[in-house]
Amino acid sequence: MATAEPNVTVTPQATPPPSRAAQLSPGLLSMVFFIGSEVMLFASFFTAYFFVRYNVADSWPPLNDAGEPFELPVGITGLNTAILVSSSFTVWWGEHRLHKYGDHKAIARGLIVTIMLGATFLIIQINEYVHLGFTPQSKAFGSTFYCLTGLHGFHVLIGLTLLTFALIRVLKARDFTYISTTPLAAAGIYWHFVDVVWVILFFLVYVL
């Protein structure tokens, strides 16, 4: 450490070569960091869930006011999970067609199907809320359940919004070519993230 760096002589070049880091797409990188932040937001609610479940409750699911354990519709939600997971594949298919073949129709179709699947998921989830028979005020069980699934539902909504923006750009501005797809790819990554979170959530909250 005690030696100085050698003297450097510089020949000014007309165009300095870009540094290697510059090859990363800032848009995608920012989405990765944003997802990291989102993961931690979910983590904070999962922390609450674990504390309530393993630190406080005597049994899980706990008993409601009527003295019976809370029940969750695992079957129908499992079906709903399948719907959401399949929507990840449809958006991937669209992107794949665009990258490989420059297929604009495919990406538009892929996005439309994905948005419809996502919307279906949300509607089924809301329907589930209506028929559950307990509310966010029903003990900490209800609070954690509604806040986790609600937070996720809100993220599905954000994901749908992003996909809709991408769809508008595809249809109206014909923006994305097979080389420049950053906003589309970012929306796609976000959608996959929303799906992965749901699979974890489904496993931890419904199944386990």
Partner: protein, 919 residues
């Protein structure tokens, strides 16, 4: 979006800068309409929903308040214009990714609307946060007023709880954290050689999001302020009113702003570094901000989560923290501190970065242990996520968690210690300039050490059990945040003030503000350690009488800090408005922000700079950090007309190597040509001309574009004459050191700065340097071997003749050719007389404008020729002989020629002096 630093031509070049034509009033009217509209919409919306779901009662104020506050803030952001560009994109419009219509500031108005220029945003941040600093400071003084005597003084207990809660929240979330974001916003992109942040529009959104968030916290006292402390522990926070709601919503906006900025910094640092800027060449501020940003991105969601849960508990009736409903009270503290401990490092690490910059620059030394400092920053951040429960040793959490948390906490002291010691290593044997930023940095080391050491005390569980929740903790947090973070913020503000505003601050007032703050701070908070150990709990308005005297003393001492802060504000505002113009590089810093103008141009760099070395290579000969290029459009080199002029004013110092090195150093920036003006007053014009020729010759040889002129008159005349003819950008004045310099006695530098309105760089030249022959190419180093002619006026004449053929640097060699032993008293006497004569001759040469050095030799003329060749690296030998003297013979000349080897030898024979000069 802009990817790798796009190239923009200089202002006035090919690129037309479209400016948003809508006036300030348009945006603010729009913002007002949107804000009010959104709030009204929120009320209607909630009312409809509650009716639809038949919630009872329909009117539950906190639900309405929470939704109205959120909607109002979002409405404000829409109205002020944060989303204009995106809205166009979303609708499928064709939008220009390089739309700069809201970029840069030409008047003060541009600072009051959405702006995408990172420099404008940096200033917006700093002005905003210092506004909140003032509000938070007023709250602090109210707290001290209450505590000046043991009884209740202001309002009731609830008022007091509100005072310290608002004070802490504003200082933490609206001052320290965003102040660092603001400073980094300004300097960080320039430091890494970028034209802006990666996402300028997101950057604008971040600052504007902070404002409504901050306002909610600041106005909450009007609605019954939140009074559960900034930590907002449940279930006490659950009992709060509208103020608590505003706290919970306001924190979300401040937090979101912080996350967005952090993502922006990370992407900027990852993708937009200039070529050659490897991670090990990044300034430490960049390291610190990258690390901090990671902490923000991954930590802040936890405080968001904790406040969402508290809000839901309060307005929706959920049971997260209600034991009766199966909730967990301590869980709040885990979630809260999982963010809020890393938040301590979010508030410290950027300060460490600033201090590293300031110390290296003002101590003129490379940073000691650069890699150790960088690694310790990362280590602190990583460990920082594993220590949160040390805030909870007495909280009733799982007891087994305490010892692991103590160990991680104590481990953090090691990288922190490494930092402190490395700064000391940097200071050691430095050339320390005790300017205000340096004073703050050195003061920081002392006060932060106290905070760090009391932190270690608090880390050891048994001691923590005794002193936690007492004034000891109050002292500790203030030693860390005020003596730590705030000192570094002040250091950074002073350090970059010339860069940000293009003006110099007042150094005297700066020093006053430091010493008053330092003394006031220690007098205020040092006694709090005692109060805490003696058992005075924190967060109480009334206390035991035995603490009365000490508290009165503390309240009085806190007034000193208030005075210091007032001086600071006066200095900042006054200097910003009418301070002297700042040069580009007043501290002679090496990092990139100092290689651009003050304030920097619209896109910082004319072309992407090239980084070629480490950032702190002070004292390393020839080392450079970066090369700043000319625009690519014109081939990477500036044509003559494009170069801007630096006017160099110097008289006797003009041919000193110090000045020439400085000029060459500046010339390496590639943007300058130099006009050298030599004001001779009523002195010898020809002498001045000779010196100037030497300098110009050396500069020409070094490839520096320079011209020069000798002006009869004072430096003002010289400056006027050149400024009339050329577009002068900056002045460089070379003088002897203060005390030796007639110009400095006349305050010439300051007067020139005022008279011209230009930035002035002063170059100090030692007198012996000014007359030393230049070692550079472009000057013929001539050894003059002389006999008795040394006392003759003809010597100067002979040299003049010689100098007219080309610039010379003279070494006067006077061989004494002693016969007999050289150690006798007689020889010593002769030697003394000879030295005296050489000195006289040198003075005469100096007056005539020659650079000369002289030497008395014990040997003969041949010996002198050898010395000339070997010791003085002479390029030519001139023999000046007296007619009939010892050097006058052909034989003597032959001996000299033989000894001189390949050097050309020339002889001038002069008439013997009419009266023998000297013994």
């Amino acid at each position: 979006m802009a990817t790798h630093a796009p190239t923009h031509s200089a202002p006035g070049g090919g690129h037309v800068h479209h400016v948003d034509p809508r006036p300030l009033s348009y945006w603010w009217k729009r913002a007002a309409v949107w804000t009010v509209g959104s709030i009204l919409f929120a009320f209607a919306f909630v009312w409809l929903l509650r009716n639809f779901f038949q919630n009872t009662p329909t009117w539950d104020p906190q639900v309405y308040n929470a939704v109205a506050a959120s909607f109002g803030a979002i409405g404000f952001l829409i109205g002020i214009g944060c989303f204009v560009w995106w809205w166009g994109w979303i609708r499928g419009r064709t939008v220009d990714a390089e739309d700069h219509s809201m970029h840069g500031a030409t008047s003060w108005r541009d600072y009051f609307k959405v702006n995408t220029d990172h420099k404008v945003i940096g200033v917006q941040y700093l002005v905003t946060v210092f506004t909140f600093f003032v509000i938070g400071g007023i709250f602090a003084e109210l707290v001290r007023t209450e505590l000046a005597q043991p009884g209740q003084a202001i309002g009731d207990g609830e008022t007091y709880n509100g005072l310290f809660s608002v004070h802490a929240t504003l200082m933490i979330f609206l001052f320290v954290i965003p102040a660092f974001a603001g400073l980094a916003n300004f300097v960080l992109p320039i430091m890494i050689g970028a034209k802006d942040m990666a996402f300028p529009r997101l950057n604008a959104l971040s600052i504007w999001m902070l404002i409504p968030g901050g306002l909610m916290l600041a106005v909450s006292p009007a609605f019954g302020s939140f009074s559960a402390g900034w930590t907002a522990y449940t279930p006490l926070a659950t009992q709060g009113g509208t103020g608590q709601t505003l706290f919970e919503v306001g924190i979300q906006f401040a937090g979101a702003s912080s996350i967005l900025t952090a993502i922006n910094f990370l992407v900027t640092i990852f993708t937009m570094r200039a070529p050659g800027m490897t991670v090990w060449r990044m300034p430490l501020l960049v390291w610190a901000n990258a690390t901090t940003s990671a902490l923000v991105v991954f930590g802040t969601p936890f405080i968001a989560g904790s406040q969402f849960m508290t809000l839901f508990d309060r307005v929706m009736g959920t049971n997260f923290f209600d034991p009766a409903g199966g909730g967990d009270v301590i869980m709040y503290q885990h979630v809260f501190w999982f963010y809020s401990h890393p938040a301590v490092y979010i508030m410290m690490l950027p300060g460490f970065g600033i201090v590293s910059e300031v110390i290296a620059t003002h101590a003129r030394k490379p940073i000691f242990g650069y890699r150790a400092l960088a690694f310790s920053t990362v280590a602190i951040a990583v460990l920082g996520f594993g220590v949160w429960a040390h805030h909870m040793f007495v909280s009733g959490m799982a007891p087994w968690l305490r010892v692991p948390m103590m160990i991680t906490t104590i481990i953090i002291a090691i990288p922190t210690g490494i930092k402190v010691f490395s700064w000391l290593g940097t200071l050691w044997e430095g050339k320390i300039h005790l300017r205000t930023p340096m004073l703050f940095a050195m003061g920081f080391i002392v006060t932060f050490s106290i905070g760090g050491l009391s932190g270690v005390m608090l880390g050891t569980i048994p001691v923590d059990i005794q002193v936690t929740d007492t004034y000891f903790v109050v002292a500790h947090i203030h030693y860390v945040f005020l003596g730590g973070s705030v000192f570094t913020i002040f250091a950074g503000i002073y350090h970059w003030f010339p860069k940000m505003t293009g003006r110099m601050y007042n150094e005297t007032l700066g020093r006053w503000s430091f010493w008053l703050l330092f003394i006031g701070f220690n007098l205020t908070f040092m006694p709090m350690h005692w109060l805490g150990l003696q058992g005075m709990p924190r967060r109480v308005a009334t206390y035991d009488d035995r603490f009365a005297d000490m508290n009165m003393f503390i309240s009085a001492a806190s007034g000193i800090m208030t005075i210091a802060v007032i001086i600071f504000f006066y200095n900042m505002i006054n200097s910003w408005v009418r301070g002297p113009k700042a040069p580009w590089n007043p501290w002679r810093g090496r990092t990139l922000e100092w290689l651009v103008s003050s304030p920097p141009s619209l896109f910082n760099f004319e072309a992407t700079p090239q980084v070629v070395g480490g950032p702190y290579q002070y004292g390393v000969p020839g080392a450079r950090h970066a090369v700043v290029f000319a625009p690519e459009e014109i081939g990477g080199e500036l044509t003559e007309t494009e170069k801007r002029t630096i006017l160099v004013i110097a008289n006797e110092t003009v041919s000193s190597s110090t000045l020439i090195d400085e000029i060459r150093h500046r010339a390496d920036e590639g943007l300058w040509r130099f006009t050298i003006a030599v004001p001779v007053g009523d002195g010898d014009q020809r002498a001045a001309d000779r010196r100037l020729q030497v300098t110009l010759s050396v500069l020409a040889e070094a490839g520096v574009d320079a011209s020069g002129t000798v002006v009869a008159g004072d430096p003002f005349a010289a400056a006027r004459r050149v400024i009339d003819e050329e577009d002068v950008h900056e002045l460089m004045v070379a003088t002897y050191p203060t005390g030796r310099s007639g110009w400095m006695a006349d305050d010439m530098v300051d007067r020139l700065r005022k008279a011209t309105g230009l930035g002035v760089t002063r170059v100090v030249v030692r007198p012996d340097e000014a007359r030393a022959p230049l070692p550079h190419a472009g000057v013929t180093r001539t050894a003059v071997i002389v006999d008795e002619a040394i006392g003759n006026g003809r010597l100067v004449d002979a040299l003049r003749e010689r100098a007219d053929r080309g610039p010379v640097a003279t070494v006067l060699l006077y061989p004494m050719a002693l016969e007999g032993p050289g150690w006798t008293d007689e020889a010593e006497e002769l030697r003394g007389a000879a030295s005296e004569r050489v000195r006289e001759a040198l003075d005469r040469l100096q007056d005539a404008g020659f650079q000369a050095r002289g030497e008395v030799l014990d040997g003969d003329a041949a010996e002198a020729a050898r010395v000339a060749r070997t010791a003085h690296d002479a390029q030519a030998i001139l023999v000046v002989a007296t007619r009939g003297g010892p050097l006058g013979s052909d034989e003597a000349l032959a001996r000299i020629t033989a000894a001189a080897g390949s050097l050309p030898v020339e002889r001038i024979v002069v008439e013997a002096p009419t009266a023998p000069a000297g013994g």
